[in-house]
Amino acid sequence: MTEPTVPEPYVAESPGREAWRMYSRNRTALFGLGLLFVILAITFYGSFFYAGDAYDIVWAPHEPPMVTPEFPLGTDYLGRDIVTGMLKGGGPTMAVGAAAALITMVIGVSLGALAGFYGGWIDTALMRFTEFFQVLPALLFAMVLVTLFSPSLWTIAFAIGVVSWPQTARLTRAEFMKIKELEYVTAARAIGAKNTRIIWKVILPNAAPPLIVSAALTIGVAILFEAGLSFLGLGDPNVMSWGLMIGANRDQLLDAWWPVTFPGLAIFLTVLAVSLVGDGLNDAFNPKLRER
């Protein structure tokens, strides 16, 4: 006779844990997360091995890759080491992307939440304001802002944030308008909760999944944006970044492909990784793809 099976004690699973379980089943999403970790690890630890200044002229210009062992990816048009540039430039590139995404989320979520929650004239006023930003050509507007405040990492992140928030605001507003009609919001009111509490502690946590996805995707867009600004010569000239390397070397592209190609590849891989993570989060949070 077999022992009667004792049912497993039922353990409650938090929404975050459940989302991670769904996420970890998604192979492409895991690949994206792994790739992102590898890129972060290389740029972080790599700069300890290549301690030199990325701006130092260390060799003859336009040394092709895989010729001199000390400079495996060659040198640029001034004779600066490309590996050092890549490793030193990764951090600022990703920092600008993350900072810009943060600024985008803070502005977009705040305004979208207020507009969606209060409705009425507050909604009308905030949405007209949002449309005003939305109709401006993003790249041109960002260029104007960067030129106005002189290029630095902070002004670039700020400019990207200022031109990117309208979409986040609209998304947040739509989520808030949907969720504020739900019964648990009325129930929260019925136990005496204030509006501010309802906005931040009741509605926002429920609106979070699409916003987290949007934040992840915004990081990728912001990295591309920074590269675009640097390519146009509007990057911070004092801080090495992948975009700056491409921008500085683009005139010699036909003579030497490597100073532009390797940073370009790095941007491509980083944005790919961030986008895969974003898509994976989207799937993980989507209840329709979740098994019950």
Binding site: L182, R189, I191, G192
Partner: protein, 324 residues
């Protein structure tokens, strides 16, 4: 003795695309401490609007309290400040909603939500609030409350969730509990359990209950007194026994006739023909006239007042003229 809750001549209007419509028309009700008032009527009769008015939760705009007064413990609520209303909600008057599936926040554990309700009104720490929440879950009959407090709403059944809602509603020992169709979304067997629980809670906490329902069976089981509502007006009010045994208004008679009675050998379910008229189409006469077998000219042109005639007050010309 003055009543715990007194609603007098309450008028609530909503702005719609048909213009301002009257959702509540001179509604007067009172609830004494510790008793249960049943409010019955079909969907769209103003039962829930009455409840939301008391809680100060009428969606505004488009809704507006256009007149009348609501007094809780003698305190006027229609003119109370928003801060005062927040202090009253949850602490002195609490509400249980119809849909236990959707009235709990899906991203927090039920224990955390009850603890939150406690901390909104009482100066206690998070640990103490959580212990109180577990005790409340135990009180409303949830087995292994310690573990269930860490569950998320979607992990509980409908009946369990309604118990959680009740625990949350009584967490600050309100004197007034409004239950808006608390069992409509639940299985019949669970309904009976929830009613038993509400009765127990009422005994223990001494709270007055306003039970909003369209289920006459629930009224028979729960209510001390009954107010029948139709198209935004109270059309009959008396003790539950009087209304159930001697309904006066044709609408109240109809509602009670709708209860299937096997002893009488009912073969098919009875119904009241027609539907509640849309509020913007209410004419000068009795709102029920179009569905009423006893309606005459006067019924179509003059609104009947709620007046005692015969057994107990009913707003019906036919009853007051002794035609039925």
């Amino acid at each position: 003795m003055s009543a715990l809750l007194e609603i007098e001549d309450l008028n609530v209007t909503f702005n719609t695309r048909y213009g301002a419509v009257t959702a509540l028309d001179s509604v007067s009700l009172h609830v004494n401490a510790g008793e249960t008032l049943g409010v019955v009527g079909e969907s769209g009769c103003g039962k829930s609007i009455t409840a939301l008015s008391v809680m100060g939760l009428i969606p505004s705009p488009p809704g507006r309290i256009a007149g009348g007064s609501i007094r809780l413990n003698g305190e006027e609520l229609t003119t109370a400040s928003p801060a005062r209303m927040r202090a009253i909600r949850g602490a002195e008057a609490a509400m249980i909603f119809q849909e236990p599936m959707t009235s709990l926040n899906p991203v927090f554990t039920v224990g955390a939500q009850i603890a939150e309700a406690i901390m909104l009104h009482q100066k206690v720490g998070a640990d103490q609030a959580m212990r109180a929440a577990v005790a409340l879950l135990d009180r409303v009959g949830i087995p292994s409350p310690d573990a269930r407090a860490r569950d998320y709403p979607h992990q509980l059944s409908g009946g369990m969730r309604q118990r959680v809602m009740i625990a949350m509603a009584v967490s600050c020992r309100p004197k007034m509990l409004i239950a808006d169709e608390p069992t409509t979304a639940l299985d019949v067997t669970v309904q009976a359990q929830i009613f038993d629980l509400l009765n127990e809670i009422q005994r223990d906490f001494g709270a007055a209950i306003v039970l909003i329902t369209h289920d006459m069976g629930a009224i028979a089981e729960m209510a001390d007194r009954v107010a029948v509502m139709y198209a935004g007006r109270v059309i009959e009010g008396a003790t539950a026994d009087d209304v159930l045994d001697h309904p006066q208004h044709p609408y109240a008679r109809g509602l009670i006739d709708c209860i299937p009675n096997i002893a009488k050998g009912d073969a098919a379910l009875r119904e009241i023909p027609g539907v509640v008229p849309p509020l913007h189409l209410l004419g000068a006469g009795c709102a029920f006239a179009a569905r009423c077998a006893h309606a005459n000219n006067r019924c179509h042109t003059e609104k009947p007042k709620l007046a005692a005639h015969g057994h107990h007050p009913a707003a019906c010309h036919a009853v007051q003229e002794g035609r039925i």
